[in-house]
Symmetry: C2
């Protein structure tokens, strides 16, 4: 816990309440810099306006939030909170193979939220937005009770061919980017959404289904493969999962399956594709680690068979209630 | 205050915590009924998907929320809370002359939120959505601390010619629909967003600027006319404003200007249009009351001159901080 990361302040002149709503909104705009477009396309009217072109394809919409004491605590710097809020929504667009485009943000602030904290939060959010070409076009701010900092973000994007979940077939191989588990140590706010990887995967006709691992593979794998039995041969367990396991007394595989907030992409690939050749194509483009975890073996109900008997405790991932 | 309208329950089996996240989301879908589209176009994937057509025009995006103890209390039935959440966002789309289309909802729930309360909230939200052709395509749900019910809604829409604020000219007449003030008595959750009126107004080339009166005319009129002096001759003060005035000791005009949450449309009309003729065209189409409040008299800074000297206390409307 770092007292400098605490979102609230007892010094009146540093509180959002003192600054007031109108001044606050004009500061939001300055903190966002070039990520907030001018005039009607940005902050300031009843709605943000977007010029529609003659594009054909699919619009994508997702909405996720972060709350103090829920998705972050005083261990996380405010820039990290802003990056997390933007990044977890970008990850949802990445999971469909889309390009993130435009965001609106809704804030619920206790009167004593620190303006300095809020500035760092905004700069973190804008930094992540800039990396992936996202504009922040508007939003809302409301007063909330003591101890509350909640931010919701709605992100729109575009995809020519969105990759959905649950379109997997028997024989498909199952893949995941990066490493899993132990996100609580740092990765939950220090991650790179797999946007470019997702777009490339969506352009491969042999990729059948995709999801981002946000609630843990234990919950997200069933969502990816639907009513199929899968055989798991290997999991890319992170070092952080090992560190968490040493503390918790559970296995590192347990952490890899259940911790969530990995923000990696899991996908299924047609049996017709030779795995080594696919992996070579991947390595020609990306430095991101890619692991073939196993295969979809039969249709019916969701079930997991482990090649290694010791790993047989399949978890349920993260449930918010 | 009505104990039946309290969002929280002490009976464990009636709490959202007991029902659990997955079951809750499947109930959301059933409560939404035909307002939630099937398959990829609705709830259930990383993003909601929207098939883009070759339409030309403008996309509109707005986001507003409701919080317990902030935007409503136990005096408001849960259906009314749901209608308010959807309605205040629809009103923002109406204020641009647009057609509301698709919504996503983010919920922050204390563990003891009542499932029955939540069902009524959803049915109210879906009812309002149905009246204006809105689909609810996805969202998010997260656990929050004790006493918290917060819901954010992001609404997308479409307009061929969006009507912005602050495009008024010297000589323009200034109009408002309905009546103003005293919304706290009931109108803040019992209102009809002026969607059809807004669309018709946006199709009139002589209408220059438009806004919905959500923070009170005291704040929203400056936003409508920008750096202009206006002369106000009359205000459509509601009976509810009079009732509030009798209690508060302030004038009913004060309530009409500052209470906010009227969700009426204010707009400016070119001096070239004869007012009586315009009013007749309006009455041929709408039963909604329409009042010409005054005129834009000169350019420079925002200022208000009242024809009636007694009304000269111009308020600032509602500030959230």
């Amino acid at each position: 816990m770092n007292p400098q990361h605490h979102p609230f302040t007892s010094v009146a002149e540093r509180q959002v309440e003192t600054v007031g709503e109108s001044e606050l909104i004009s500061r939001f705009r300055s903190w966002l810099g070039d990520t907030c477009p001018d005039g009607a396309y940005g902050i300031g009217d009843d709605c943000a306006i977007q010029l529609l072109s003659r594009a054909e394809g699919y619009g994508l919409t997702t909405m996720d939030g972060v709350g103090y004491g829920i998705h972050f605590d005083d261990g996380v710097p405010p820039e990290g909170v802003g990056r997390k809020l933007m990044g977890r929504n970008i990850s949802d667009i990445a999971a469909m193979g889309g390009q993130p485009e435009r965001a609106v943000v809704s804030l619920w602030l206790a009167p004593d939220v620190s303006v300095a904290w809020l500035e760092s939060f905004y700069r973190g959010m804008a930094g992540m937005a800039r990396e992936f070409g996202v504009e922040i076009v508007g939003g809302d701010v409301a007063r909330a009770g003591r101890g509350v900092f909640i931010a919701d973000l709605c992100l729109q994007g575009f995809a020519e061919r969105p990759l959905q979940r649950a379109k997997s077939c028997v024989g498909d191989s199952i893949w995941v980017t990066g490493e899993l588990g132990g996100s609580l140590l740092a990765k939950h706010y220090q991650f790179t959404p797999r946007v470019w990887e997702g777009q490339w995967l969506a352009a491969q006709p042999d990729v059948h289904a995709m999801i981002d691992v946000s609630d843990g593979l234990g919950k997200d794998l069933p969502a990816l493969v639907g009513a199929h039995t899968v055989r798991i041969r290997t999991l890319p367990v992170s070092d952080a999962a090992g560190i968490c396991a040493a503390k918790s007394g559970r296995s590192s595989v347990h952490h890899a399956l259940n911790d969530g907030e990995d923000f990696e992409l899991a996908f299924t690939l047609s049996a017709s594709v030779e795995k080594e050749r696919f992996l070579q194509m991947w390595r020609d483009r990306f430095q991101t680690r890619l692991t073939c975890m196993g295969e979809v073996t039969s249709r019916g109900v969701f079930a997991v068979e482990f090649e290694d008997e010791e790993d047989q405790t399949w978890g349920k991932g993260y449930e918010h209630f």
